[in-house]
């Protein structure tokens, strides 16, 4: 099988409009959570979220840098974020100006968990209040999940595989794993892979709150709400944004002297076959997903120095993932660090696995692991696990594991290592 490496990174997050700003804020233990500004949420059970900040904010996002004004108007924000992150990643890799021959072998695998929910909501209201003749002609292709991959392929002329994963909150990780396999199996030489989400709208917040998934106990202190593994955690905080990586066949990357961040060595996938929203009570799906990724990687448990956990800050989910990690790592638990960056940027749903894989890559690059914020009082089961409470930690990082699990009982794990 051909080897696959990461040669470019791009990101839009609640803590920055690009990779480096976000990472600096993550390492500085900043939180992107605040009271919702997109709509008046004062009557909602959950009134907080990790929104992407406007361009004039200290760590805001400027859509105009990479996305045409016309496209910004016509499509949902998740697509705009995705185009931005993909553009950043291509530039970072030095591949924004490929020849036609190269572009025939370059593709996209950028998905989303939910897609254009804000636009579906607002156009439904147009339909109900003003009739079918007022619905936007851009309604459909401005909301479809595969339209990040579609828009990006058009913008950069990428004629290879055009794919989009939809696996709820494991979308980002599956997207990278699937794209890596396309390169390994010789379907393409270069793939833009990742995920995006923007569902901070009335129906999105109301829906997840009704599913009892969101934190509601910290509406008056938003920065305290996302607290994975803490005894007082009570649900996730919704985030938004996008993460995209450039994956490239190793020999090609080496030959052109590309900056190589990491090699994708392991990819595991599994299904819980248990419940639509609750994880398997023994964390079996999570365990099998990690185990498969490890087996594929050829690494030993002692080689994994950092785990970026799914760790959403829900009472049940955190406990079960922790249990599965403890069961898998066994005697090697003491030498690795594990943290949840959702404590800082919230849960990016379909974007989470991609953004968090990028944090894993940066941990490899900078030999520092990001913190789990608000871990004031770890639950009993955290004993013996270094969850990197409150502050980032410099340490040796040779290989990293990212976990992402989604509604429907879908699990994905990625292992990457330094080249």
């Amino acid at each position: 099988m051909r080897r696959v490496v990461v040669t470019g990174l791009g990101m839009v997050s609640p803590l920055g409009g690009n990779v480096e700003t976000t990472w600096k804020n993550i390492i500085a233990s900043r939180s992107g959570a605040a009271t919702i500004t997109r709509f008046d949420a004062s009557e909602y059970k959950c009134r907080i979220a990790c929104e992407v900040k406007p361009a004039d904010h200290e760590y805001g996002y400027d859509a105009g840098l990479d996305v045409d004004h016309k496209i910004q108007r016509q499509v949902d924000p998740f697509i705009v974020y995705g185009i931005s992150a993909a553009s950043q990643a291509l530039r970072d890799a030095g591949l924004d100006n490929m020849s036609e021959e190269e572009r025939l072998r370059a593709g996209c695998s950028i998905g989303s968990g939910i897609g254009g929910l804000p636009g579906i909501e607002s156009e439904s209201l147009v339909l109900a209040n003003r009739g079918p003749g007022r619905v936007s002609p851009h309604f459909v292709h401005g909301r479809l999940i595969n339209l990040i991959s579609g828009q990006v392929s058009i913008k950069y002329g990428l004629m290879g595989p055009n794919h989009a994963v939809v696996t709820a909150c494991s979308t980002g990780a599956h997207s990278i794993g699937d794209a890596a396999r396309m390169i390994a199996l010789d379907d393409a030489d270069v793939m833009l892979a990742g995920g995006a989400e923007s569902a901070i709208c009335p129906i999105g917040i109301a829906g997840f709150a009704q599913a009892r998934a969101l934190s509601t106990a910290f509406d008056d202190s938003p920065e305290k709400a996302s607290r994975p593994y803490d005894v007082n955690r009570d649900g996730f905080v919704m985030g938004e944004g996008a993460g995209v990586v450039v994956l490239e066949e190793y020999e090609r990357a080496k030959a052109r002297g590309a900056k190589i961040y990491a090699e994708v060595v392991g990819y595991g996938l599994s299904g819980d076959a248990y419940h639509v929203t609750a994880p398997h009570p023994e964390g079996n799906g999570a365990y099998r997903s990690m185990e498969m990724a490890l087996k594929k990687s050829g690494l030993g448990l002692g080689d994994i120095d950092y785990v970026n956990a799914h760790g959403t800050s829900t009472p049940l989910g955190d406990e079960l993932e922790l249990g599965a990690v403890k069961r898998l790592f066994g005697d090697h638990l003491g030498t690795m660090s594990m943290s949840s960056t959702k404590s800082a940027i919230g849960h990016l749903l379909g974007g989470a696995g991609a953004v968090e894989s990028i944090f894993c890559i940066l941990a490899l690059r900078d030999q520092i692991v990001p913190p789990t914020l608000n871990l004031d009082e770890p639950s009993e089961s955290c004993k013996g696990v270094d969850l990197v409470p409150h502050v980032a930690k410099e340490r040796k990082v040779r290989a990293v594991l990212n976990n992402s699990f989604g509604f429907g009982g879908t699990n994905a794990s990625l292992i990457m290592k330094a080249v």
Binding site: H69, K70, R73, G133, R134, S136, H138
Partner: protein, 77 residues
């Protein structure tokens, strides 16, 4: 410039994200202003909204330039 022309041009600039100077009366939506057929559907909806007129599909299909739009709207007001 007529009041209709001003308002039409403002809508075109906003919807297509083009510079105001490019929106001359002779400009073709597709050839000069980068619109596609769906952009024109959206523009026509915006004109209907702004001017309180109805532009049926067969009339909309004949609107190719900025001047075509201005003339049609003026003829209905």
């Amino acid at each position: 410039m007529s009041e209709t022309a001003d308002r039409v041009k403002k809508i075109v600039v906003e919807h297509l994200g083009v510079e105001a100077e490019k929106v001359t009366e002779d400009a073709s939506f597709i050839d000069d202003l980068g619109a596609d057929s769906l952009d024109i559907v959206e523009l026509v909806m915006a004109f209907e909204e702004e001017f309180g007129v109805e532009i049926p599909d067969d009339a909309a299909e004949k609107i190719a330039t900025v001047k075509d739009a201005i003339d049609y709207i003026d003829s209905k007001q």
